[in-house]
């Protein structure tokens, strides 16, 4: 799809006035996704930033122009499996069933339902916007918070400095469920983003998982205007490689020549401000190790 068409012609199906923080890339992601998936959609938005922003609505008002509901933090994938199965009994397989979930509802509390739905290959589009923490409730740690991050539950103290564990790699985990389509997306790479949402919609034979890297200006501590550049740096430092998985094949979709040192990404946000040389070296090592694993997957498939 032509990008002009996406941004100037397709109807914005979210309310124009949502209370997401100024510069929030999750709001941007939600708007682009809804434009592309269109009206014939049943949407679920899990408890988190986007519901806090009013995407589901308030009292008798609705936050988007498609039918929407807020599942529990724990059950988005299974609740929407049920929605889709019922649509099927009614001969309405054309209806798209889309879940827009945060990382807590995806990688942590909601993981069991997600894993079950993926294993059953339920015909739903599950999108995770990963802002690396429970950002709607005050920046607490999640399974996808990166190592060393400051969060309100992994504070920087005199002894322990930030989260002690690495980020849970949801896209690879979902690829290993052999989902019909898995991709990593970033709002900093619009063409790639749109391509992947379109591809996701073209797949009608099973579970689709899209993982969107979604920097959080309040929780990660950076100026709102830098949202896109932070996301871009994550890709350019190989911290968040863009790739896709389909039918046993991994493909890198945005190639990074001469990756920048991780320091540049770390410097761009406040949550890593306390890093010393060792912490920086550790995370660089993790980035390199994971990138070489991904490279082997891209190369061999």
């Amino acid at each position: 799809m032509n990008l002009n068409e996406v941004f100037f012609e397709l109807e914005d199906l979210a309310s124009p006035g949502l209370s997401a923080c100024p510069g929030c890339p999750a709001e941007l992601a939600l708007r682009i996704v809804l434009k592309i998936v269109g009206n014939n959609t049943l949407l679920g938005v899990t408890p988190g930033c986007m519901t806090g922003a009013g995407a589901v609505g308030w009292n008798r008002l609705s936050g988007v122009k498609v039918p929407v509901t807020m599942p529990l933090l724990t059950n988005a994938a299974s609740l929407f499996s049920g929605v889709k199965r019922f649509c099927h009994t009614q001969g309405r397989d054309d209806i798209r069933v889309v879940v827009f979930a945060g990382d807590g509802a995806t990688a942590d509390a909601g993981f069991q339902a997600l894993s079950g739905a993926a294993e059953r290959n339920e015909n739903i589009l599950y999108i995770c916007y990963d802002n690396e923490g429970y950002m709607n409730t005050g920046f607490q740690r999640s399974g996808t918070s990166s190592k060393g991050s400051y969060t309100s539950t992994t504070p920087v103290g005199s002894v322990i400095k930030g989260k002690q564990q690495n980020k849970k790699d949801m896209p690879l985990i979902m690829a290993m469920h052999d989902a019909a389509y898995v991709a990593t997306l970033s709002t900093a790479y619009t063409r790639d983003f749109v391509n992947k949402v379109e591809k996701a919609l073209s797949i009608k034979d099973g579970f689709v998982y899209l993982h969107i890297f979604s920097p959080c200006l309040s929780g990660w501590r950076y100026e709102s205007k830098n949202t896109i550049s932070v996301g871009r740096l994550a890709v350019q430092t190989n911290f968040y490689p863009l790739y896709e998985y389909r039918e046993g094949r991994f493909t890198q979709t945005v190639k990074v020549k001469n990756a920048k040192p991780i320091q540049e990404f770390l410097n761009s946000v406040g949550k890593f401000k306390h890093f010393d040389e060792k912490q920086t070296a550790d995370i660089q090592q993790w980035v390199d190790r994971r990138y070489s694993l991904l490279e082997s997957l891209w190369r061999d498939s």
């Binding site: 009292n59 929407f80 049920g82 079950g116």
Partner: protein
């Protein structure tokens, strides 16, 4: 018209559910409910059940899948026990408060600890404040029939509340006995198709379902839910009568009164121990004792008025045989419910709480006669605040 079969309680539940033609079924096996899932899966595999069968990874997802389907307008079914019910509590509560009618069978099992897989009603009794209607049944025929009744009650426009059909694990779930299975045509005639008009999740009508609400709205919803529960009291009695005229079997609606005419001593029962209670009453009636029994068939909504009416002036003392406990009251749960119902209407009767049958223990005929002896003694020498008697 109907087929006479020998069915286990779990088979009766599966058959009852299948006869109601649900659109979507999702369930996860757990002792003693497992064979409900297995029978449904078999019927589905044999092409005898057209529903979508979703083989979920947990009870939490079972309740969530049927919730999604119900949200979109479908008729759904699931079944569980004990830990499974505990795990699904989050979507379970939401099912009722979103006012999504459905039927869930619960093969009652004691909650741990100590570790157990056997019968008890602590699982379902503990969630009696979750906004669901709860039936407790006595035998396998009643399991099948009550599931059919329950869809009609749940989907009634003045009710719109999901229903639990609770039956004791092993003592009914694994008991095999004679069950009449009605024809699909007769069930279809009794139970109209479900066409929700109070909830829409459809691209043709794009609105939010369950957006965030403020406190004042919440009060209104709760108020409505409570009113609907009260409306269900009449619906339950009426549906049972209508069921009787269609199928030739009825159960008294909210409660069954057994030999209550001129009764002076009354035993309350709930669930599968009712049979032993009735046999005990027969034995004592034969010797001229004026005893009777009230089987509480519905715990939510609580059948206060029916109970008050059944306890005529001749009644001098009551006993309540529970298969669950009320932590903090030092009695069984049903005992407190009955006492509260009486007290709220200024009726005062001395009573004894009996607790038995926990973790698969039996509530025997001897227990029931012992309970009658204790209540007869109480009637002769009335006294309030009697200690709980454990039937062990």
């Amino acid at each position: 018209m109907s087929m006479v079969n020998a069915l286990t309680g779990n088979e009766a539940a599966a058959k009852g559910a299948a006869l109601c033609k649900p659109d979507v079924i999702a369930a996860y096996p757990i002792t003693p409910q497992s064979s409900v899932v297995e029978h449904l899966a078999q019927m589905h595999a044999d092409g005898l059940l057209k529903a979508e069968m979703v083989e979920v990874e947990s009870e939490h997802s079972a309740m969530s899948v049927v919730q999604g389907a119900a949200l979109a307008g479908g008729r759904t079914f699931t079944a569980t026990s004990a830990q499974g019910l505990a795990l699904m509590y989050e979507p379970y509560f939401r099912m009722s408060t979103m006012r999504l009618p459905m039927v869930m069978a619960i093969a009652g099992r004691e909650m741990t600890s100590p570790e157990t897989i056997w019968a008890g009603q602590q699982d379902s009794v503990s969630v009696r404040e979750s906004g669901w209607i709860q039936f407790y049944v006595e035998d396998n025929q009643e399991i099948l029939d009550t599931i059919i009744q329950s869809y009609k009650i749940a989907e009634d426009n003045s009710v719109l509340i999901p229903v639990n059909v609770c039956y004791d694990g092993f003592y009914l779930s694994h008991l095999i006995e004679r069950v009449e299975v009605p024809t699909e045509e007769l069930v279809e005639q009794f139970l109209p198709p479900y066409c929700p008009k109070h909830i829409y999740f459809d691209p043709e009508r794009p609105i939010a379902v369950d957006p965030m609400f403020d406190g004042s709205m919440m009060m209104k919803f709760r108020h409505n839910h409570l009113e609907a529960m009260q409306a269900a009291l009449d619906v339950i009695d009426n549906v049972d009568k209508e069921f009787g005229s269609t199928f030739g079997r009825s159960y008294g609606g909210l409660i069954e009164e057994y030999r209550m005419d001129d009764a002076e001593v009354v035993l309350f029962s709930i669930g599968s121990s009712t049979g032993a209670g009735k046999d005990a009453v027969d034995l004592y009636r034969e010797r001229g004792e004026k005893v009777g029994l009230i089987k509480v068939r519905v715990l939510r909504p609580f059948p206060t008025k029916r109970i008050l009416k059944a306890l005529s002036k001749s009644v001098r003392a009551i006993g309540v045989v529970d298969r669950s406990v009320s932590f903090g009251w030092n009695t069984g749960a049903l005992f407190q419910e009955v006492m509260a119902a009486l007290g709220n209407y200024g009726r005062s009767l001395p009573g004894i709480s009996f607790i038995g049958g926990l973790g698969g223990a039996d509530i025997t005929l001897d227990h029931m006669t012992a309970a009658l002896d204790a209540v007869i003694a109480l009637a002769e020498k009335p006294e309030y605040g009697k200690s709980t008697i454990w039937l062990d």
